[in-house]
Symmetry: C2
Subunit: 144 residues, 2 copies
């Protein structure tokens, strides 16, 4: 179990590198790709909502969204329900570039997962879910 924490730490390092490398392929930063990922999975949301999801300062979001909008990754539109709010829509065809970027890794991943039986997959999924909730708790514990 100590080996597990060591592997998790190493995973953190290699994922940082992965995000760096992947980002330079499309001219985006880690947090910008994460923004697109969230938008693709959760759908359009307000600039503020997206900023909270990513832990970014509101003023920083403006800059990020300017860049993403200029690059054709997202569009901005006023929320008709509340005209103060700007809804961010991902441009799905464009974001497909990133999906293709990770296509190689995705196929490696499916190959890798095929080696596990159903019980093992359930264990893995349970573990990952636990990690996500744990990390979320730890993050919010530091909000001031």
């Amino acid at each position: 179990m100590n080996r597990i924490t060591g592997t998790v730490r190493e995973m953190g390092v290699v994922m940082t590198v992965l995000n760096l490398r992947a980002g330079e392929q499309v001219g985006l930063r880690d947090v910008e790709m994460k923004a697109l990922d969230v938008l693709m999975r959760d759908g359009a949301m307000s600039a503020k909502g997206l900023g909270q999801r990513l832990g970014m300062h509101p003023a920083t979001m403006t800059g990020i969204l300017d860049k993403l909008e200029n690059g054709g990754w997202v569009t901005r539109e006023r929320d008709p329900e509340d005209r103060r709010v700007v809804l961010i829509q991902p441009v799905r065809e464009r974001v497909g570039e990133i999906v293709r970027l990770f296509a190689g890794m995705a196929s490696l991943a499916t190959d890798m997962l095929e080696k596990y039986d159903t019980d093992q997959l359930a264990t893995i999924e349970d573990f990952l879910t636990n990690v996500v909730t744990m990390v979320k708790e730890a993050s919010t514990a530091w909000e001031e």
Copy 2:
């Protein structure tokens, strides 16, 4: 298994947020904490070696190391074997601050892992190891 990839993606997002939040507690960035983590686990190494481990440009490393040295996180010393090389030593007492920062999460983690039996732990560890090698391969595939 599609749920697993979704959870992994979400894990990427929450880890980005975690690193952001943890970083602002000690005034460091993601990559700087990763640098310290690598130094703590692998021991002292050259500036270049560390830069390659983290996928950072050499010139960027100089700035990062200046900051880490000023903050008392690391020391620089010439390698007697090859006087071009600068060996980076982590200052262990100081880096302990970061360990303490994650102490809460670490204890949550051990609690969480206790719920799994030996076989399940082996599965988890195997999975994590596979992820690390997979991510490494994907990263190096993009080097130009």
